[in-house]
Assembly symmetry: C2
Homo-oligomer: 233 residues x 2
Protein backbone atom coordinates (compact mmCIF):
# COMPACT_ATOMS: atom_id res chain seq x y z
CA UNK A 1 0.00 0.00 0.00
CA UNK A 2 1.18 3.52 -0.76
CA UNK A 3 1.72 5.87 2.15
CA UNK A 4 -0.23 9.09 2.45
CA UNK A 5 1.16 12.55 1.69
CA UNK A 6 1.94 15.15 4.33
CA UNK A 7 0.87 18.72 3.58
CA UNK A 8 2.11 21.76 5.48
CA UNK A 9 -0.77 24.06 4.71
CA UNK A 10 -0.22 27.80 5.05
CA UNK A 11 -3.64 29.22 5.92
CA UNK A 12 -2.68 32.88 6.25
CA UNK A 13 -2.93 35.42 9.08
CA UNK A 14 -6.58 35.12 10.09
CA UNK A 15 -9.07 36.15 7.40
CA UNK A 16 -10.40 32.85 5.97
CA UNK A 17 -10.54 34.50 2.54
CA UNK A 18 -6.75 34.81 2.63
CA UNK A 19 -6.34 31.07 2.15
CA UNK A 20 -4.95 30.31 -1.28
CA UNK A 21 -7.06 28.39 -3.80
CA UNK A 22 -4.56 25.56 -3.37
CA UNK A 23 -4.76 25.45 0.41
CA UNK A 24 -8.56 25.52 0.16
CA UNK A 25 -8.58 22.64 -2.33
CA UNK A 26 -6.29 20.47 -0.22
CA UNK A 27 -8.03 21.35 3.05
CA UNK A 28 -11.42 20.37 1.68
CA UNK A 29 -10.28 17.07 0.14
CA UNK A 30 -7.83 15.46 2.61
CA UNK A 31 -9.22 12.83 4.98
CA UNK A 32 -7.15 13.99 7.98
CA UNK A 33 -6.45 17.47 9.40
CA UNK A 34 -3.95 18.21 12.19
CA UNK A 35 -3.49 21.51 14.04
CA UNK A 36 -1.72 22.83 17.12
CA UNK A 37 -3.68 23.60 20.28
CA UNK A 38 -2.19 25.52 23.18
CA UNK A 39 -2.50 24.66 26.86
CA UNK A 40 -4.26 27.97 27.42
CA UNK A 41 -7.05 26.86 25.12
CA UNK A 42 -6.25 29.01 22.08
CA UNK A 43 -6.75 27.22 18.76
CA UNK A 44 -6.42 29.96 16.15
CA UNK A 45 -5.49 27.76 13.19
CA UNK A 46 -8.64 25.65 13.36
CA UNK A 47 -10.82 28.70 13.98
CA UNK A 48 -9.58 30.34 10.76
CA UNK A 49 -10.79 27.46 8.59
CA UNK A 50 -13.68 26.21 10.75
CA UNK A 51 -16.25 26.91 8.00
CA UNK A 52 -14.35 24.75 5.50
CA UNK A 53 -13.99 21.57 7.64
CA UNK A 54 -16.42 18.74 6.98
CA UNK A 55 -17.83 16.50 9.74
CA UNK A 56 -16.40 13.37 8.08
CA UNK A 57 -12.81 14.64 8.20
CA UNK A 58 -10.63 13.18 10.96
CA UNK A 59 -9.12 15.86 13.22
CA UNK A 60 -5.86 15.55 15.14
CA UNK A 61 -5.41 18.28 17.76
CA UNK A 62 -1.73 18.59 18.70
CA UNK A 63 -1.25 19.94 22.25
CA UNK A 64 1.75 22.27 22.58
CA UNK A 65 3.05 23.93 25.74
CA UNK A 66 2.30 27.65 25.92
CA UNK A 67 5.28 28.48 28.12
CA UNK A 68 8.52 29.14 26.27
CA UNK A 69 10.49 27.97 29.29
CA UNK A 70 9.78 24.30 28.67
CA UNK A 71 10.97 22.40 25.63
CA UNK A 72 8.18 21.64 23.20
CA UNK A 73 10.14 18.94 21.39
CA UNK A 74 8.59 15.94 23.23
CA UNK A 75 5.19 17.31 22.17
CA UNK A 76 6.32 17.38 18.53
CA UNK A 77 7.63 13.82 18.87
CA UNK A 78 4.19 12.65 19.97
CA UNK A 79 2.35 14.70 17.31
CA UNK A 80 4.66 13.38 14.59
CA UNK A 81 4.05 9.77 15.62
CA UNK A 82 0.30 10.27 15.62
CA UNK A 83 0.44 11.81 12.12
CA UNK A 84 2.79 9.07 10.95
CA UNK A 85 0.19 6.43 11.84
CA UNK A 86 -2.28 7.94 9.38
CA UNK A 87 0.36 8.48 6.69
CA UNK A 88 1.57 4.89 7.05
CA UNK A 89 -2.05 3.78 6.66
CA UNK A 90 -2.21 5.55 3.28
CA UNK A 91 -4.14 8.63 4.39
CA UNK A 92 -3.10 12.17 3.38
CA UNK A 93 -2.71 14.54 6.34
CA UNK A 94 -2.87 18.34 6.15
CA UNK A 95 -1.24 20.24 9.02
CA UNK A 96 -2.81 23.69 9.44
CA UNK A 97 -0.19 26.43 9.74
CA UNK A 98 -1.09 30.01 10.59
CA UNK A 99 0.67 32.43 8.24
CA UNK A 100 3.56 30.96 6.27
CA UNK A 101 4.65 27.43 7.34
CA UNK A 102 8.39 28.02 6.81
CA UNK A 103 8.62 31.34 8.71
CA UNK A 104 8.85 30.91 12.52
CA UNK A 105 6.30 28.10 12.15
CA UNK A 106 5.74 25.18 14.48
CA UNK A 107 5.14 23.02 11.38
CA UNK A 108 8.87 23.04 10.70
CA UNK A 109 9.45 20.74 13.68
CA UNK A 110 7.03 18.22 12.17
CA UNK A 111 8.62 18.74 8.75
CA UNK A 112 12.03 17.82 10.16
CA UNK A 113 10.63 14.64 11.69
CA UNK A 114 8.32 13.48 8.89
CA UNK A 115 9.66 14.79 5.53
CA UNK A 116 12.51 12.22 5.51
CA UNK A 117 9.97 9.38 5.92
CA UNK A 118 6.91 10.45 3.87
CA UNK A 119 6.15 12.41 0.67
CA UNK A 120 5.72 16.00 1.83
CA UNK A 121 4.48 19.20 0.22
CA UNK A 122 4.54 22.66 1.77
CA UNK A 123 1.89 25.10 0.53
CA UNK A 124 2.99 28.69 1.14
CA UNK A 125 0.64 31.03 3.01
CA UNK A 126 0.26 34.76 3.57
CA UNK A 127 2.51 35.76 6.46
CA UNK A 128 1.11 38.23 9.00
CA UNK A 129 4.32 40.24 8.52
CA UNK A 130 3.27 40.88 4.91
CA UNK A 131 -0.48 41.20 5.50
CA UNK A 132 0.09 43.89 8.12
CA UNK A 133 1.43 46.26 5.46
CA UNK A 134 -1.77 45.94 3.44
CA UNK A 135 -3.91 46.50 6.55
CA UNK A 136 -1.84 49.53 7.59
CA UNK A 137 -1.80 50.95 4.06
CA UNK A 138 1.98 51.21 4.26
CA UNK A 139 4.33 50.14 1.45
CA UNK A 140 7.21 48.18 3.07
CA UNK A 141 10.20 48.35 0.71
CA UNK A 142 11.21 50.07 -2.52
CA UNK A 143 14.08 49.43 -4.96
CA UNK A 144 17.32 48.72 -3.03
CA UNK A 145 15.84 48.59 0.48
CA UNK A 146 16.79 45.89 2.98
CA UNK A 147 13.90 44.51 5.04
CA UNK A 148 14.62 42.82 8.37
CA UNK A 149 12.09 40.70 10.22
CA UNK A 150 12.97 40.17 13.88
CA UNK A 151 11.32 38.87 17.05
CA UNK A 152 10.89 41.28 19.96
CA UNK A 153 12.19 38.46 22.17
CA UNK A 154 15.78 39.35 21.18
CA UNK A 155 17.93 41.18 23.71
CA UNK A 156 17.89 44.99 23.52
CA UNK A 157 21.41 45.31 22.11
CA UNK A 158 20.79 42.94 19.21
CA UNK A 159 17.46 44.57 18.42
CA UNK A 160 19.09 48.01 18.40
CA UNK A 161 21.96 46.89 16.16
CA UNK A 162 19.70 45.17 13.61
CA UNK A 163 17.19 48.03 13.49
CA UNK A 164 19.95 50.60 13.06
CA UNK A 165 20.96 49.15 9.67
CA UNK A 166 17.54 48.12 8.30
CA UNK A 167 15.80 50.30 5.72
CA UNK A 168 12.50 48.72 6.74
CA UNK A 169 11.66 46.33 9.56
CA UNK A 170 8.95 44.19 11.08
CA UNK A 171 9.22 43.42 14.80
CA UNK A 172 7.05 40.42 15.66
CA UNK A 173 5.97 38.60 18.85
CA UNK A 174 5.70 41.86 20.81
CA UNK A 175 3.69 40.88 23.90
CA UNK A 176 5.54 41.64 27.13
CA UNK A 177 8.56 42.88 25.15
CA UNK A 178 6.73 45.97 23.90
CA UNK A 179 8.16 48.45 26.43
CA UNK A 180 11.73 47.40 25.58
CA UNK A 181 11.03 47.80 21.84
CA UNK A 182 9.39 51.18 22.34
CA UNK A 183 12.45 52.49 24.21
CA UNK A 184 14.76 51.31 21.42
CA UNK A 185 12.60 52.90 18.71
CA UNK A 186 12.70 56.15 20.66
CA UNK A 187 16.51 56.01 20.97
CA UNK A 188 16.87 55.39 17.24
CA UNK A 189 14.43 58.15 16.26
CA UNK A 190 12.08 55.59 14.70
CA UNK A 191 9.00 56.19 16.84
CA UNK A 192 7.38 58.55 14.30
CA UNK A 193 7.67 55.98 11.49
CA UNK A 194 6.67 52.88 13.46
CA UNK A 195 3.15 51.48 12.95
CA UNK A 196 1.45 49.09 15.38
CA UNK A 197 -1.08 46.39 14.53
CA UNK A 198 -2.39 43.39 16.45
CA UNK A 199 -4.18 40.33 15.03
CA UNK A 200 -3.88 41.57 11.44
CA UNK A 201 -6.86 40.55 9.23
CA UNK A 202 -8.64 38.83 12.15
CA UNK A 203 -12.11 40.04 13.24
CA UNK A 204 -10.58 41.67 16.35
CA UNK A 205 -7.74 43.38 14.46
CA UNK A 206 -6.61 46.57 16.21
CA UNK A 207 -4.48 49.45 14.93
CA UNK A 208 -3.35 51.95 17.58
CA UNK A 209 -0.79 54.79 17.56
CA UNK A 210 2.24 53.48 19.46
CA UNK A 211 2.30 56.45 21.81
CA UNK A 212 -1.24 55.64 22.97
CA UNK A 213 -0.60 51.98 23.78
CA UNK A 214 -0.74 50.53 27.26
CA UNK A 215 2.20 48.05 27.39
CA UNK A 216 0.14 45.74 29.61
CA UNK A 217 -2.40 45.33 26.79
CA UNK A 218 -0.06 44.29 23.98
CA UNK A 219 -0.64 40.66 22.95
CA UNK A 220 1.88 38.18 21.55
CA UNK A 221 0.12 38.44 18.16
CA UNK A 222 1.07 42.10 17.71
CA UNK A 223 3.77 43.55 15.50
CA UNK A 224 5.39 46.85 14.62
CA UNK A 225 6.05 47.75 10.99
CA UNK A 226 8.68 50.36 10.15
CA UNK A 227 8.15 51.16 6.46
CA UNK A 228 10.95 52.32 4.21
CA UNK A 229 11.51 56.03 3.72
CA UNK A 230 12.92 55.57 0.23
CA UNK A 231 11.41 57.96 -2.26
CA UNK A 232 10.40 56.79 -5.76
CA UNK A 233 12.76 57.65 -8.58
Amino acid sequence: MNTGKLYGLGIGPGDPELLTLKAHRILTTVPVIAYPTLENGKVLARAIVADFIRPDQIEIPMPLPFSVERSSQPHYDRAAEKIAEYLAAGKDVAVLCEGEPMLYGSFMYLFQRLAPRFPTEVVPGISSTMASAAMLGAPITFRNDVLSIMPATLDAETLRDRLAVADAAVIIKLGRHFAKVRTILDELGLLDRALYIERATQPNQRIVPITELDPAEVPYWALILIPSQTQPQ
Copy 2:
Protein backbone atom coordinates in the same frame (compact mmCIF):
# COMPACT_ATOMS: atom_id res chain seq x y z
CA MET B 1 -22.32 59.21 -8.41
CA ASN B 2 -20.01 57.19 -6.19
CA THR B 3 -16.48 56.65 -7.36
CA GLY B 4 -15.10 53.15 -7.93
CA LYS B 5 -12.74 51.35 -5.58
CA LEU B 6 -9.08 50.68 -6.32
CA TYR B 7 -7.76 47.21 -5.48
CA GLY B 8 -4.06 46.34 -5.28
CA LEU B 9 -4.40 42.63 -5.88
CA GLY B 10 -1.54 40.39 -4.76
CA ILE B 11 -1.65 37.41 -7.13
CA GLY B 12 1.33 35.48 -5.80
CA PRO B 13 4.57 34.24 -7.32
CA GLY B 14 3.36 32.41 -10.42
CA ASP B 15 1.21 29.36 -9.72
CA PRO B 16 -2.39 30.50 -10.37
CA GLU B 17 -3.55 28.28 -7.50
CA LEU B 18 -1.56 30.51 -5.12
CA LEU B 19 -4.06 33.33 -5.54
CA THR B 20 -6.04 33.83 -2.35
CA LEU B 21 -9.77 33.19 -2.33
CA LYS B 22 -10.19 36.93 -1.86
CA ALA B 23 -8.00 37.92 -4.81
CA HIS B 24 -9.84 35.38 -6.95
CA ARG B 25 -13.23 36.76 -5.92
CA ILE B 26 -12.27 40.36 -6.65
CA LEU B 27 -10.47 39.50 -9.87
CA THR B 28 -13.50 37.65 -11.26
CA THR B 29 -16.03 40.34 -10.30
CA VAL B 30 -14.41 43.74 -11.04
CA PRO B 31 -15.26 45.41 -14.35
CA VAL B 32 -11.71 46.71 -14.97
CA ILE B 33 -8.29 45.04 -14.63
CA ALA B 34 -4.94 46.85 -14.93
CA TYR B 35 -1.48 45.27 -15.11
CA PRO B 36 2.09 46.29 -15.93
CA THR B 37 3.64 45.34 -19.25
CA LEU B 38 7.33 45.69 -19.95
CA GLU B 39 8.91 47.11 -23.09
CA ASN B 40 10.55 43.75 -23.72
CA GLY B 41 7.13 42.14 -24.04
CA LYS B 42 7.02 40.27 -20.72
CA VAL B 43 3.60 40.35 -19.06
CA LEU B 44 3.89 37.88 -16.19
CA ALA B 45 1.08 39.26 -14.03
CA ARG B 46 -1.60 38.81 -16.68
CA ALA B 47 -0.27 35.38 -17.66
CA ILE B 48 -0.66 34.12 -14.07
CA VAL B 49 -4.40 34.84 -14.02
CA ALA B 50 -5.16 34.48 -17.75
CA ASP B 51 -7.60 31.60 -17.14
CA PHE B 52 -9.67 33.68 -14.70
CA ILE B 53 -10.20 36.79 -16.89
CA ARG B 54 -13.55 37.11 -18.70
CA PRO B 55 -13.89 38.57 -22.21
CA ASP B 56 -16.25 41.29 -20.95
CA GLN B 57 -13.73 42.68 -18.46
CA ILE B 58 -11.96 45.87 -19.52
CA GLU B 59 -8.16 45.52 -19.52
CA ILE B 60 -5.69 48.36 -19.01
CA PRO B 61 -2.11 47.39 -19.91
CA MET B 62 0.35 49.77 -18.24
CA PRO B 63 3.63 50.06 -20.20
CA LEU B 64 6.69 50.37 -17.94
CA PRO B 65 10.31 50.87 -19.02
CA PHE B 66 12.46 47.76 -18.60
CA SER B 67 15.69 49.65 -18.14
CA VAL B 68 16.46 50.73 -14.57
CA GLU B 69 18.48 53.66 -15.90
CA ARG B 70 15.43 55.69 -16.89
CA SER B 71 12.87 57.00 -14.43
CA SER B 72 9.60 55.10 -14.57
CA GLN B 73 7.65 57.81 -12.76
CA PRO B 74 6.17 59.48 -15.89
CA HIS B 75 4.84 56.03 -16.83
CA TYR B 76 3.14 55.71 -13.44
CA ASP B 77 1.69 59.21 -13.85
CA ARG B 78 0.05 58.14 -17.12
CA ALA B 79 -1.14 54.79 -15.75
CA ALA B 80 -2.62 56.47 -12.67
CA GLU B 81 -4.55 58.96 -14.78
CA LYS B 82 -5.95 56.21 -16.98
CA ILE B 83 -7.07 54.23 -13.90
CA ALA B 84 -8.47 57.41 -12.32
CA GLU B 85 -10.80 57.89 -15.32
CA TYR B 86 -12.48 54.55 -14.62
CA LEU B 87 -12.60 55.12 -10.85
CA ALA B 88 -14.12 58.57 -11.34
CA ALA B 89 -16.73 56.97 -13.60
CA GLY B 90 -17.75 54.67 -10.74
CA LYS B 91 -15.98 51.51 -11.92
CA ASP B 92 -13.88 49.36 -9.56
CA VAL B 93 -10.35 48.70 -10.85
CA ALA B 94 -8.11 45.80 -9.79
CA VAL B 95 -4.38 46.25 -10.37
CA LEU B 96 -2.63 42.89 -10.71
CA CYS B 97 0.50 42.67 -8.55
CA GLU B 98 2.91 39.74 -8.77
CA GLY B 99 3.80 38.47 -5.30
CA GLU B 100 2.95 40.83 -2.46
CA PRO B 101 1.86 44.37 -3.51
CA MET B 102 3.61 46.18 -0.65
CA LEU B 103 7.01 44.45 -1.01
CA TYR B 104 9.20 45.93 -3.78
CA GLY B 105 6.02 46.23 -5.84
CA SER B 106 5.34 48.62 -8.70
CA PHE B 107 1.77 48.96 -7.38
CA MET B 108 3.07 51.13 -4.56
CA TYR B 109 3.70 53.97 -7.04
CA LEU B 110 0.06 53.84 -8.10
CA PHE B 111 -1.00 53.54 -4.45
CA GLN B 112 0.83 56.78 -3.62
CA ARG B 113 -0.89 58.59 -6.49
CA LEU B 114 -4.42 57.19 -6.16
CA ALA B 115 -5.06 56.20 -2.52
CA PRO B 116 -5.40 59.85 -1.43
CA ARG B 117 -8.12 60.38 -4.10
CA PHE B 118 -10.11 57.11 -4.18
CA PRO B 119 -11.18 54.34 -1.77
CA THR B 120 -8.37 51.80 -1.91
CA GLU B 121 -7.89 48.25 -0.62
CA VAL B 122 -4.69 46.23 -0.78
CA VAL B 123 -5.11 42.45 -0.86
CA PRO B 124 -1.94 40.71 0.36
CA GLY B 125 -0.37 38.05 -1.85
CA ILE B 126 2.19 35.26 -1.48
CA SER B 127 5.65 36.77 -1.93
CA SER B 128 8.16 34.78 -3.98
CA THR B 129 10.62 35.25 -1.10
CA MET B 130 8.30 33.14 1.08
CA ALA B 131 7.17 30.67 -1.59
CA SER B 132 10.76 29.81 -2.44
CA ALA B 133 11.24 28.23 0.99
CA ALA B 134 8.31 25.86 0.39
CA MET B 135 9.64 24.94 -3.06
CA LEU B 136 13.15 24.37 -1.72
CA GLY B 137 11.89 22.41 1.28
CA ALA B 138 13.89 24.68 3.57
CA PRO B 139 12.54 26.20 6.79
CA ILE B 140 13.62 29.87 6.85
CA THR B 141 13.62 31.03 10.49
CA PHE B 142 13.17 29.55 13.97
CA ARG B 143 12.57 31.16 17.35
CA ASN B 144 14.79 34.27 17.77
CA ASP B 145 16.20 34.37 14.24
CA VAL B 146 16.47 37.61 12.25
CA LEU B 147 15.55 37.33 8.56
CA SER B 148 16.86 39.90 6.11
CA ILE B 149 15.51 40.32 2.59
CA MET B 150 17.85 42.26 0.32
CA PRO B 151 18.22 43.00 -3.40
CA ALA B 152 21.38 41.78 -5.16
CA THR B 153 21.54 45.24 -6.74
CA LEU B 154 23.12 46.62 -3.54
CA ASP B 155 26.85 47.36 -3.56
CA ALA B 156 29.16 44.55 -2.41
CA GLU B 157 30.10 46.18 0.89
CA THR B 158 26.50 46.71 1.99
CA LEU B 159 25.53 43.18 0.96
CA ARG B 160 28.46 41.74 2.93
CA ASP B 161 27.65 43.78 6.05
CA ARG B 162 23.93 42.87 6.04
CA LEU B 163 24.54 39.18 5.36
CA ALA B 164 27.18 38.97 8.09
CA VAL B 165 24.60 39.74 10.81
CA ALA B 166 21.53 37.93 9.41
CA ASP B 167 20.52 34.54 10.82
CA ALA B 168 18.65 33.85 7.59
CA ALA B 169 18.49 35.81 4.34
CA VAL B 170 16.83 36.03 0.96
CA ILE B 171 18.76 37.77 -1.83
CA ILE B 172 16.40 38.80 -4.61
CA LYS B 173 16.73 40.29 -8.12
CA LEU B 174 19.90 38.28 -8.85
CA GLY B 175 20.28 38.56 -12.65
CA ARG B 176 23.62 40.07 -13.64
CA HIS B 177 24.56 40.56 -9.98
CA PHE B 178 24.92 36.82 -9.36
CA ALA B 179 28.73 36.64 -9.66
CA LYS B 180 29.14 39.43 -7.10
CA VAL B 181 26.76 37.69 -4.68
CA ARG B 182 28.49 34.33 -5.14
CA THR B 183 31.87 35.85 -4.26
CA ILE B 184 30.44 37.43 -1.10
CA LEU B 185 28.79 34.17 -0.01
CA ASP B 186 32.12 32.41 -0.50
CA GLU B 187 33.97 35.02 1.60
CA LEU B 188 31.40 34.69 4.40
CA GLY B 189 31.44 30.88 4.35
CA LEU B 190 27.77 30.80 3.35
CA LEU B 191 28.09 28.98 0.03
CA ASP B 192 27.27 25.56 1.53
CA ARG B 193 24.03 26.83 3.08
CA ALA B 194 22.82 28.96 0.16
CA LEU B 195 20.00 27.59 -2.04
CA TYR B 196 19.21 28.88 -5.53
CA ILE B 197 15.81 28.99 -7.20
CA GLU B 198 14.50 30.85 -10.24
CA ARG B 199 10.85 31.53 -11.14
CA ALA B 200 9.53 29.85 -7.96
CA THR B 201 6.16 28.08 -8.47
CA GLN B 202 6.06 28.98 -12.20
CA PRO B 203 5.94 26.20 -14.82
CA ASN B 204 9.59 26.85 -15.72
CA GLN B 205 10.81 26.90 -12.11
CA ARG B 206 14.44 25.79 -11.83
CA ILE B 207 16.46 24.73 -8.77
CA VAL B 208 20.21 24.37 -9.34
CA PRO B 209 23.17 23.95 -6.95
CA ILE B 210 24.91 27.34 -6.83
CA THR B 211 28.29 25.87 -7.72
CA GLU B 212 26.88 24.51 -11.00
CA LEU B 213 25.32 27.80 -12.18
CA ASP B 214 26.50 29.70 -15.23
CA PRO B 215 26.34 33.38 -14.16
CA ALA B 216 25.31 34.35 -17.69
CA GLU B 217 22.15 32.26 -17.34
CA VAL B 218 20.80 33.72 -14.10
CA PRO B 219 17.58 35.69 -14.68
CA TYR B 220 16.30 38.70 -12.76
CA TRP B 221 13.55 36.47 -11.28
CA ALA B 222 16.01 34.32 -9.37
CA LEU B 223 16.82 34.40 -5.68
CA ILE B 224 19.10 32.82 -3.13
CA LEU B 225 17.72 31.61 0.20
CA ILE B 226 20.07 31.16 3.15
CA PRO B 227 18.06 29.24 5.76
CA SER B 228 18.66 29.58 9.47
CA GLN B 229 20.99 27.14 11.19
CA THR B 230 19.17 27.42 14.50
CA GLN B 231 18.45 24.06 16.04
CA PRO B 232 15.10 23.30 17.69
CA GLN B 233 14.97 23.46 21.46
